[in-house]
């Protein structure tokens, strides 16, 4: 639904409709911000990168193509902008894919409130995530949280189809293997 509507708005934006431009911003800014938080906690840096993405598409609207999936297009643009700035800041190598930080752990704003609502599920999620590498967390995020296609994931992670398949299978296996044990441990602690 949203995918279709976004495509229409994108076309309108390319033909010069500024309302469509602000619709795209309003529709995707929160999603992009949350995505940015997976790479860094620096909200100023994320906002700067979002600004880069939106001013870039505006300046180049004369010669941009229509992406199949606007969301995936925006995610890719933001990722490259963010990684570029992060690389400058932290001086890590972009070609070293494994080194890009990616965390699925929600950022905690209010520690006190968060502690109170920390349920069994959150504990389980934390343990589950701690099993995965950055790369594995990233692919789980695209596949099961953003529900992107494998083609889009390949673009975002600079992988070929087979490697993406392997990466996700390995991630799922790792979770499953450890999960049975985890559930057992949790129920044990209840009995005691």
């Amino acid at each position: 639904m949203l995918t279709k509507e976004s495509k229409i708005k994108w076309a309108e934006f390319l033909s010069g409709n500024t309302d469509a431009y602000s619709w795209i911003y309003e529709t995707y800014v929160q999603l992009l911000y949350r995505y940015g938080l997976r790479f860094t906690q620096d909200s100023e840096l994320i906002k700067d990168s979002i600004q880069e993405v939106f001013t870039y598409i505006y300046k180049n609207r004369g010669h941009l193509s229509s992406p199949d999936n606007v969301k995936a297009y925006l995610l890719i643009s933001l990722k490259y902008n963010l990684i570029h700035s992060l690389r400058k800041e932290l001086s890590y190598d972009l070609s070293d894919k494994e080194n890009i930080p990616f965390s699925l752990e929600p950022t905690v704003e209010d520690v006190v409130i968060e502690k109170e609502r920390l349920t069994l599920q959150s504990e389980q999620i934390k343990k589950m995530l701690s099993l995965l590498t950055s790369r594995q967390q990233e692919i789980i995020y695209y596949r099961y949280i953003q529900e992107l296609s494998f083609e889009e994931i390949c673009q975002l992670m600079n992988l070929n189809y087979q490697s993406a398949q392997n990466l996700i299978q390995r991630s799922l296996k790792k979770i499953r293997d450890n999960f049975e044990l985890l559930l057992l441990l949790l129920s044990l602690s209840f009995v005691l």
Partner: protein, 356 residues
Amino acid sequence: MGTINNKLKFNLDKLRAELEREYLPKGEEKELWAKICSENKNHERRKRVRIFTISVSVAASVALLCVWQWNKHQVLPETEIDYWAICQPVTPEELQSPNVQLLLSDNQKLDISHNESKIDYQADGKVKVNEDTVHIKKEGPQDLNQLIVPAGRRASLTLSDGTQMWVNSGSRVIFPMEFAENKREIFVEGEVFLNVSHKEQVPFIVKTKEIDVTVLGTQFNVSTLESKHTMEVVLVSGKVEVTTKAHVKNILQPNELYTYNTSTHQTSLEKVDVSDYIAWKDGYYQFNKQPMDKILQKIARYYGIQINWGQGIAKLTCSGKLDLKDNPDDIFILLKQAAPIEVEKVNGEFLVKVKP
């Protein structure tokens, strides 16, 4: 697609819900949009200039005619000044300079290395900086100048109408060299204290990103601290009216603090001891049972340093005066005497903890 068992799916759904609790506050979302639009506008303007220079080389007479008509178009209707667009072209290097900067209309720039600068726009059009007269090329009397005061510095500024202004560290003011006859308007980002000269017929308007303050001869403090998402106006004497971008109006009485939350868009008025809010202009901060985290925020901003603090700091309160002429190390010695805290310096950042 990989097979995924129910328990796992349940956890991923939970995780998705957790992640969706994070958000960019509405106020910041709007602010970011404004920045994007302003950058786009600047880009369009530059593009227009580029097109224009091309046409000059083709046919000079046609181009001249365009200039004249374009100017006429620009000047005649009284348009709102886009202060944000004026803020934008300032390069990060200029903002990071340790000195007070005075940016003049014709790309002239004055670098003032005093800790406390005094700048005086005199009624006869002369400008004095720390007692020295500077010669400024004037194009139009209503040309806008910009004063940037970095962390650790302060400046006082006398405007052409005699209005006195104290500008706190980490702030910027945009103002005309001379005010127009029917309107006095300035733009402020950061914290300033104003003593506005009384002119019944000519309103004085302080514009900020989120609110406008309209004055008729009075003393007040305006503070737009972005980190806190709040804008504050404190009135010492006289009468001011504050208008938000959504046209919500409030009138302040003396000794009142007006607060506007830029993310929830709520406004509030309360009675306060104004001296706590304006002491900075005389070189000190004055606190009356202030939570320690608020005090650390002010110190961090004043000296342009990074201060981190541990749990429990917000529960400590502190009263008294802090002399801002000291360096931050001296400030922490004083704070340690006043409250049960420990201070460590790690990689140039300060870490403040409650004494166990």
